[in-house]
Amino acid sequence: GAGFALSSQAVAADETLEPTSWEDITQYNNFYEFGTGKDDPVRYAGALTTSPWTVKIDGMVDRPADYDFEDIMKAMTVEERIYRFRCVEAWSMVIPWNGFELADLLEFAGVQAGAKYVRFETLYRPSEMRGQSSNFIDWPYVEGLRLDEAMHPLTIMATGIYGRDIPNQNGAPMRLVVPWKYGFKSIKSIVRITLTDEEPVNTWQQLQPSEYGFYANVNPEVDHPRWSQATERVIGGGLFSPRIPTLMFNGYEEEVAGLYAGMDLTKFY
């Protein structure tokens, strides 16, 4: 169907991308649950227990339940997706994810007719996530997608990188990846997925609504109030690494622009 065509096209286009090194991907992270420094996650995420792991899928679904992560993995087909990853802080990587389409997981739980949005929650466990003892964020971390964004074939749940289990600092055992949106939308270490008919308020939007919206689509023409989004630094180039131009929808315009037809992207940022 159309979905399959879209997905194979995207995968083909991505074969020209040069993946960032394993070291850069796993040692330069934003995961405030472990601290605000870029090297805090790699230093402290080892404390997190990821097995057993339960994901509650609830709200407007046919089969609401606490799903064991192992059972989810048995039901899903894992494939490799090499995606650009663009942080709202104007740096970027290319990451070879392993994962499955979020649409498959949502269909596994059975999406009901009235559902319009998907709300995600990260684990809240301050005993293992030392950053959660600071309360500048109203934990747990929350993210959300419109249902059509969630069902898009480019949207995946990542469970691995470079064919290895996803490291804790990158969001073990399962994290969202929405490649045309700023990285903060790609919520890590997910424990709850709720289908709802109300637009969820995501954590960054709640923290600073003038700077972070619900959509957070990568857009070189809509600047962050405190910095330009026109260019990005590619991680891994050392001291003389230049900036490259940021692409509309992070280079996935052809696949996803239709989702936002007629919307004012300066208003819905």
């Binding site: 600073q208 260019t231 001291l239």
Partner: protein, 201 residues
């Protein structure tokens, strides 16, 4: 007090150039770390941040010097210019890293200075320090006389702008930059004129 006497005696023996060398050592060290992975996976931002933070620390050291003499009798006045100039050097290097390594695109640099409040504030702080660095030599001190002291009060404004700039760089309210601002405001408060009742009639 014997301890302050000992500190003052030691400070008199330390040559000013030794302080310059000691406080400039971090520059080659940071460049070495940046090249060898010691500043993490993205050395440009890290280098920029380290230089900015050292600049702020040097400005704070500069602010400590007169309260140290006034309240504790520790006399480090002969190093005040040294720390001021060192702070200026670090602010300039911090700016240089931002201009050349971080942004590097002239049109974006100009847009950032005009459009982004934290960069505008940082830039104003730097510009306020320029005349202070230029007039830091003995010739200007003599020539400007009382006006020199008035002019160099601009350092108070610049250091507050530096701390505000640091707070605004962060995505959330982080403790460290807030501590810097609190320390700076505390040191400036020590300079407020004493209350009338403490003054002789």
């Amino acid at each position: 007090m014997p301890l302050t006497d000992r500190i003052n005696g030691f400070a008199r023996k330390v040559p000013v150039w030794a302080v310059y060398i000691l406080y400039l050592l971090p520059v080659p060290w940071l460049l070495y770390l940046a090249q060898t992975g010691g500043l993490g996976r993205e050395p440009i931002k890290a280098l920029e941040h380290e230089l900015g933070e050292i600049a702020l620390q040097l400005l704070i050291i500069g602010l400590c010097i007169s309260p140290l003499r006034r309240y504790l009798g520790v006399n480090l006045i002969r190093f005040r210019r040294t720390f001021g100039l060192l702070a200026f050097i670090y602010v300039a290097l911090h700016l240089l890293v931002w201009l050349v390594l971080d942004v590097g695109i002239i049109s974006q640099i100009w847009a950032d200075i005009l459009k982004r409040p934290y960069i505008t504030i940082g830039m104003i702080g730097f510009l306020l320090l320029v005349p202070l660095a230029i007039t830091s030599n003995n010739w200007f001190v003599r020539r400007l006389g009382a006006r020199w002291h008035k002019l160099h009060k601009l350092a108070y404004v610049a250091v507050v702008l530096g701390a505000v700039h640091f707070i605004m760089v962060k995505k959330v309210w982080e403790l460290e930059p807030l501590i810097y601002l609190a320390v700076i405001l505390g040191l400036l408060a020590l300079r407020l004129p004493k209350k009338r009742k403490n003054q002789p009639a």
